[in-house]
Amino acid sequence: MSAIQPVILWTDALVFALVAGVTGLVLYIRRHEHLRAPWAGVARQPMAMGSALVLAVFVVIGLLDSLHYRERLPDSPPDKPQYSVEVLSAFDALVGPLRTQQEKTYSAPLAMHLYAKEFVDHDGVVVREYPRLKYGGAHLESAAAHWADIVRRVLLGSVQGLAIALLLVGVLAAWQARRSRQSYGEWLTVFGTGRLGWPGRTLATMLALIAIAIAVLLHLAAGYHVLGTDKVGQDVLYISLKSIRTGLVIGTLTTLVTLPLAVVLGIAAGYFRGWVDDVIQYVYTVLNSIPGVLLIAAAVLIVQVYIESNPELFDTAAARADIRLLALCLIMGMTSWTGLARLLRGESLKLSTLDYVEAARAFGVSHSRILGRHIFPNVFHLVLIAIVLDFSGLVLAEAVLSYVGVGVDPSMYSWGNMINGARLELAREPVVWWQLGAAFAFMFTLVLAANLFADGVRDAFDPRLGGRR
């Protein structure tokens, strides 16, 4: 008997399978010099490495948010434990009060008063004023100390963040100096003058910025709602952070679905030609000629009907939302594999006429062996570039689809749902901008980091841009 019951949702399982796959791939690449070389090229680019660090922060939050569990109800009998229907994650446990400290309705970022005036009872005298928040700024005696308190928290957070970053960089520097058999001072000189061979200074700066941002946020969030609260009084920072997982899942799992289809069909069409090529080309022209949003809409409506007519299959609301998220990934994958497939078809068409492939064929090497040894390794860079380039587009597409009403489940935290729920609030007076602003800012950060990283990967892997290596 335990206090919690682990819950593995479908997307959780796939996310961790993906992590395992990527880890395996990294270990494989590390052992092969020719595979390592282009990645070393990525590692030399300051822009790519800086954004990789930002992406890593997002991924850590997303992974923490993928460890789901259900709490045991406190008054259930020990021999027959009952669990809450609410599915929480390790991330929820970590940020604790952020989730539970709910206000009444809207409040502005860092505010100590509610957004709307209410009748408040002051010892029998009823006054119409902005009531104090239950949690935001509750530690303050009066509004006079408000800004001083915020400035104090920001300064404290900055100093602590900087200190932590310096400590981290110092330890890492010591480790690097030992590895390269230099004295500490020598290594720091090389590091300081930027002759390291990899963008050490950029990484250190980014590390410091991230550490400061996290420390400041922690200090502020302990006393305020940093990004305000939404209509039902929930902390917007919490919602935005929870939405990270949704964005990452859509960006990665969709490509995971796309990949086998695109690779198998694209290479098969280019290599075997003849009727195989005709059939595959026919299939992807048909799929391509249907406007993507409409195909996704049709399929999502069908999934919705299925979920509604089979409620017994899903025991919690989270499981229901999760299956819809997975279905969305599958559907988006089914509609978006055609681009990569066409690219791979063209490339393998070219490759299959090259001398060494002809020679292999003349020696009687089997098709599967030629495909595995000669064709696939030579188109792999295209696959990789497509994965990283597609990611940001998929994250942005989620918001649009949620607006159309065929995105993720309305109960799921996602930037698209945040935007959809808040876009009419701009008409209010005074304007409620923080929910929209937060969703756009988080989405922008993730997509920009992904785009810059993707550019770095493309520069390093695309042989047509060979001059820069």
Binding site: V286, P291, I302, Q304, I419, L426, F440, D455
Partner: protein, 325 residues
Amino acid sequence: MFAYLLRRVLYAIPILIGVNLLTFTLFFVVNTPDDMARLQLGAKHVTPEAIERWKVEHGYDKPLLLNRDAQGSAQFTDTIFFKHSAAMFAFEFGKGDDGRDIGNEIVTRMGPSLAIALPVFAIGLLVNISFALLMVFFRSTYLDLWGVVLCVVLMSISGLFYIIAGQFFIAKLWNLLPISGFADGLDAFKFVLLPVLVGVVSGIGSGSRWYRTIFLEEIGKDYVRTARAKGLSEVRVLFRHVLKNGLIPILTGAVVVLPLLFMGSLIVESFFGIPGLGSYTIDAIQAQDFSVVRAMVFLGAVLYIVGLILTDLSYAWADPRVRLQ
């Protein structure tokens, strides 16, 4: 030339049949008319009689593919497939859930859609090419580098942000243009301005970066070096040679979307209240009006295939090395 065109048009037919079969499967086989009726009626009103009535009203009370009760050719024609899917080849889309003829709606809504989509397309192309040329002119300087970074930043902003920010700042805060709406004739101008502006700005990032790569690829070629060796100025090289040759892939790439402009833009139209095909589609999706969605799928497929054929023709027209056989 004519034979080629004919073959391409004939090749379009199996593709349209494929699209038709796929939509038929999605809308009638996987998702049966009973499911649709249940979804439409809502949980409270679901009774077998209500479902039956809904199906009769919408003409979904027939067998899917083969009607055994009918006589002669009616065995095939008096079915859902023939009445609702095959009829689309004759552009007979039937009626939407609001009782209006879909074909009529499409014809009247094309105008407003084009009023937004065409200027966005044309101005966008012009602006993107100009930006791309500017970056190419200052290539490998800081101006070019920051231009590319700016492009990536613009690309990373959600399209919804451009719309919401445009409506909020330009229309609401500064009162320069109406927030949304549409009017006939010349009055439409002030309503069209903001959506077009938003459409153009949201496309600048990806568009000009893409064109910049095309121009840079051109600029490395031999004929450009020859032109410079002749002593032509950089501006002249850029405009007379690079621009002209770079335009071939740009314009032929743009041709494929030309017919799809009729469909309008889903999001922009729905935000700005333009009574075009895009907002029609969105409304249909949100109201789960399947007959409209089906019609739009078919229309989109037809226009896409027209675009493909036009692309082939434009290649042959723009580049004398391409022969159509």
